[in-house]
């Protein structure tokens, strides 16, 4: 048993739902108790979908267990087929139904429906959401991609590829598909099929007609791409086009596969990130300490962008994707770090607390950790929430993705000039200690704590790590002169410095000794 407060991934059948919901003309019958229907709201509330997911739940109850749950499943499959008239069906079990061992796939196939029925075996007590999505997509592709559909010679037509991996409830998948489709179009490459996002089972049957595959999210599409390579000799892309360098490398990789020229598209490189990053005001970004956690693809990309394209220092890198732990470990090693591979929220929280980064790039979980620790944060990966499905066009991939990343990572930080002004004019009412950055609107900090805390109480409240260390009045006053957004860190550093040296009282000297000790 694993004690879990929050989970990064849902169960594997939720992964299957992300595939089914992304597609058209497909219906999923899930052998499950009624509670599992909660998953509908992930799509209708978080992603704001305007249709129910194409899922029928058998919703068996305790009283059915003595009787015939198998019969219940068969009638649910038949009713769903008649009502929805899908081109193909998925049939599987959730965690509870797995224990009943009803063999939903076999039972559904015994009905001899006139459409393909894909049986899913998703071991709920071993695997998780992304694995379930990948397995489901692979099973669908394997069943539906017609072997007869081989690639025709490319002499009289533009090269074409499939765009694989975008799902429902994916982090910016909708916009990434747009951005990459546009980019490939400029290279003179057509999209044969985009899947699972927007595809029908009939579209999957045409997968073999592409020259190669573009894998946008390996967590979802790698097994399918590997099978397509084996079956249709379609090569597939390894580069994930998130960030400037990766987008360039992706263009080069794709151009080579398609045998087209990348020169024109590379020469244009219409992203503002490189110049914004080189402009003088970005100097204040230099060496900002950043902690990164997410799925493997987004975490690795974020680490690269943070270092090479924004000049940050990555102090922590990790992922909850155990299936891709190797890649994350390699990436972390390139930054001189040991990767944090865990799905234990508390372990991530402990790492952030200890490292005290100046920026957290993570999932919704890390957003909450950062909020609690009052560290700026941007979301870079699932699990995500309703605000991560913005109304505006906001891809992560390609040139526009780089623009979006620059804005969303830099905006939570204090502007460089503002940081200096705040220090210089801290006596002025607009720049008082509790003022929030002006570009973040109102002054939430001030409104939460309108009453200035007396130094003694502040010491008690701010303690914790350095419990047992007290502050002289003089040191406490000096600490108050440090801008509020670094004061917490200064306090913690000073206290840990004092604790290490077994100093019970922090004096002015201790404060500046610690500052020198921790200076980069």
């Amino acid at each position: 048993m694993q004690l879990t407060l929050w989970t990064y991934e849902g169960p594997p059948h939720v992964g299957a739902m992300r595939i089914a919901t992304a597609m058209q003309g497909l219906h999923y019958v899930l052998h499950s108790p009624q509670g599992d229907t909660y998953a509908d709201l992930l799509f209708t509330m978080i992603e704001r979908r305007d249709q129910r997911p194409p899922v029928t739940y058998t919703t068996f109850q305790a009283r059915d267990l003595g009787g015939d749950t198998a019969q219940l499943l068969q009638s649910a499959v038949l009713a769903a087929y008649e009502r929805h008239q899908p081109q193909a069906m998925l049939v599987g079990a959730s965690c509870t139904a797995e224990l009943l061992q009803d063999d939903p796939g076999g039972l559904a196939q015994a009905l001899n429906l006139p459409v393909p029925v894909v049986a899913l075996e998703l071991p709920a007590y071993q695997r998780k959401e992304n694995w379930g999505a990948a397995e489901t997509f692979y099973r669908l592709v394997r069943t539906l991609a017609a072997p007869g559909n081989r690639v025709q010679p490319a002499a009289d037509r533009r090269p074409r590829c499939n765009l694989l991996g975008a799902t429902a409830l994916g982090f910016r998948h909708r916009d990434d598909v747009c951005e990459i489709t546009r980019l490939l179009g400029r290279l003179g490459i057509d999209i044969n099929v985009t899947a699972p996002f927007g595809a029908t089972p009939a579209d999957l049957a045409r997968l073999g007609a592409a020259d190669f595959n573009v894998v946008l999210y390996p967590e979802i599409a790698r097994p399918a791409a590997e099978w397509l390579e084996k079956t249709f000799s379609q090569p597939w892309t390894r580069t994930i086009p998130i960030g400037i360098a990766a987008t360039r490398a992706f263009i080069a990789e794709v151009a080579e596969l398609a045998q087209v020229s990348a020169d024109e598209v590379l020469a244009g490189a219409p992203s503002r990130l490189p110049w914004y990053s080189r402009s003088v005001d970005s100097n204040y970004l230099t060496g900002k300490r950043v902690f990164i956690f997410g799925d493997a693809t987004h975490a690795i990309a974020a680490a690269r962008i943070a270092t090479d394209e924004l000049g940050f220092t990555v102090v922590g890198l990790g992922s909850y994707s155990r299936e891709h732990a190797r890649e994350v470990r390699e990436a972390a090693a390139r930054h001189g770090l040991e990767a944090l591979i865990t799905d234990d929220y508390l372990a991530v929280e402990a790492a952030v607390t200890e490292l005290q980064p100046e920026l957290v790039l993570g999932t919704q979980m890390e957003r909450h950790i950062a909020k609690r620790l009052r560290i700026p944060c941007a979301v870079i990966s699932a699990p995500i929430h309703v605000q991560d499905f913005p109304a505006r066009y906001a891809p992560q991939m390609g040139w526009e993705g780089a623009n979006v990343i620059f804005d969303t990572w830099v905006q939570p930080l204090m502007m460089g000039l503002e940081e200096h002004l705040l220090t210089m004019f801290r006596g002025d009412h607009e720049f008082h200690d509790e003022a929030a950055p002006s570009h973040l609107g109102a002054t939430p900090v001030a409104s939460v704590t309108p009453v200035p805390t007396p130094p003694a109480a502040a010491t008690a409240a701010g303690a914790g790590a350095g419990a047992g260390v007290s502050w002289s009045d003089e040191a406490e006053r000096e600490l108050g002169k440090i801008p509020f957004f670094v004061r917490g860190k200064a306090r913690r550093n000073t206290e840990s410095y004092a604790a290490q040296r077994q100093l019970s009282l922090v004096t002015l000297e201790t404060l500046y000794d610690a500052k020198a000790h921790f200076a980069r």
């Binding site: 048993m1 694993q2 004690l3 879990t4 407060l5 929050w6 989970t7 991934e9 849902g10 169960p11 059948h13 939720v14 108790p33 009624q34 509670g35 599992d36 229907t37 909660y38 998953a39 509908d40 709201l41 992930l42 209708t44 509330m45 978080i46 704001r48 979908r49 305007d50 249709q51 129910r52 029928t56 739940y57 058998t58 919703t59 068996f60 109850q61 305790a62 059915d64 267990l65 649910a76 009713a79 009502r83 959730s94 965690c95 509870t96 224990l99 009943l100 071991p123 709920a124 007590y125 071993q126 998780k128 919704q364 979980m365 909450h368 909020k371 609690r372």
Partner: protein
């Protein structure tokens, strides 16, 4: 009145943890289940918590099923790890789930064992929130029922108000009941795990939620007797509810009238403010929280709405007898699920407002139907005089919004 059977589209009883963990301070809810259970609670909560979470899941893994590890030993280990460094936990609920029920993990024995181990610091209880046994609000019923045998004996006459209420509502109702002169007024669930109400054969209990069948049974076993009353929704419902309490404790009629005249008038005024918009509007209830019948009574009687269908996951005819009598004759009441058939009827009826779960709300909005998602009725303070206007407003808001939008 008819019974339907088909695909359900409701939460399981685990969802109750979302509001119960905020209500009973010092209590912690440990679901013994699967990753799905953990994902459900975190998704239903809609938030990931700011403070120390007061619920968690012990996720059953392959090796627990394969018998490679003793599930009981594993559970003990997990509980020990949880309680380590969490001195704020005084009451631990082990909450059964679909998988734990199917593998027949005996959580009542586990609770006894762990209670003995961690007494007197922590008491350990158990109940089932599984979706094969419970629907949505039945989780609270199961939780409260598990608390009843642990309540201290108290043979003094008194009133016990049963069903979780927002603190502000609890305080208002308590004030009124105490001012009536009722000797002792207590609430279940208590606000703190260590302050349990007493109970005995002179206890009269009054339900503040309509879904508490098992809790009521457990209370009767301890000798308490129910005061039949409609739910305290709206000016009228709250009056009936308070009158029932007054009658049970022989409170002077004039005294009661004096006490409630002003708040009742406030409530009537507040509700009336929404009547012009809602009167004559047709409302359709999908089965969700078991609040459907009392809510339909409030909407039809105090706001002159027309209830075209009142579907509820489970109809407790005994507890709802007074509610049912107050509904317009011939109301279409459906007990049980069958989401596809209900959707068909809903589309055919084209009601002005649909009360439904979160999975259905946006799809129905996209079809042009106005919706009110029902889970908000569990979280928002809606009972009592001072909330009557807010309750009406919850139903008015989706319609008001439509009159405002020009996109």
């Amino acid at each position: 009145m008819s019974v339907e059977r088909g695909q359900r589209a409701v939460f399981c009883g685990l969802t109750g943890i979302v509001w119960l963990h905020r209500k009973i301070q010092g209590a912690f809810f440990l679901v013994v289940g699967s990753r799905t259970c953990a994902h459900l609670i975190q998704s239903a909560a809609g938030v990931m918590i700011f403070a120390e979470p007061r619920f968690a899941t012990a996720i059953i893994e392959e090796r627990d099923l394969a018998g490679m590890s003793d599930a009981n030993a594993e559970l003990d280990r997990v509980v020990a790890r949880l309680l380590e460094g969490r001195s704020d936990i005084k009451l631990l609920f082990l909450v059964g789930s679909c998988p734990s029920e199917v593998i027949k993990l005996d959580l009542s024995r586990a609770a006894q064992r762990l209670s003995a181990r961690f007494a007197p610091t922590v008491r350990v209880l158990n109940y089932s929130g599984s979706g094969i046994e419970t629907t949505f609000t039945q989780g609270e019923d199961a939780c409260l029922a598990s608390l009843v045998p642990t309540l201290p004996a108290d043979e003094q006459p008194g009133l016990l108000v049963v069903g979780s209420l927002a603190d502000v509502v609890e305080a208002q109702l308590q004030r009124l009941l105490v001012q009536m002169g009722i000797p002792s007024v207590q609430f279940l669930p208590p606000r703190h795990a260590e302050r349990l109400p007493g109970i005995g054969s002179h206890t009269r209990y009054l339900l503040a939620q309509p879904f508490l069948a098992d809790t009521a049974r457990a209370l009767e076993e301890r000798g308490a007797r129910r005061i039949a009353a409609p739910m305290p929704y709206g000016a009228e419902g709250t009056t009936f509810w308070l009158e029932a309490a007054a009658e049970a404790f022989a409170v002077d009629r004039r005294r009661l009238e004096e006490l409630i005249a002003a708040p009742r008038q406030r409530a009537q005024r507040a509700v009336a403010a929404h009547r012009s918009l809602l009167a004559g509007k047709r409302v359709f209830f999908f089965p969700d929280s078991q609040l459907e019948v009392p809510l339909a009574r409030f909407l039809t009687r105090e706001l002159s709405m027309v209830a075209v269908e009142i579907a509820t996951p489970y109809l407790h005819r005994g507890h709802l007898d007074r509610e049912l009598a107050l509904l317009p004759p011939g109301s279409r009441i459906i007990e049980g699920p069958g989401v596809d058939a209900q959707l068909d009827r809903c589309r055919a009826e084209q009601p002005d407002l649909v009360v439904c779960g979160m999975g259905l709300a946006n799809p129905l909005e996209a079809e042009g139907l106005a919706t009110k998602w029902s889970i908000e009725l569990m979280f928002a303070p809606i009972q009592g005089y001072e909330q009557a206007g807010d309750l009406a407003e919850l139903f008015a808001r989706p319609l008001v919004r439509r009159t405002r939008l020009a996109v």
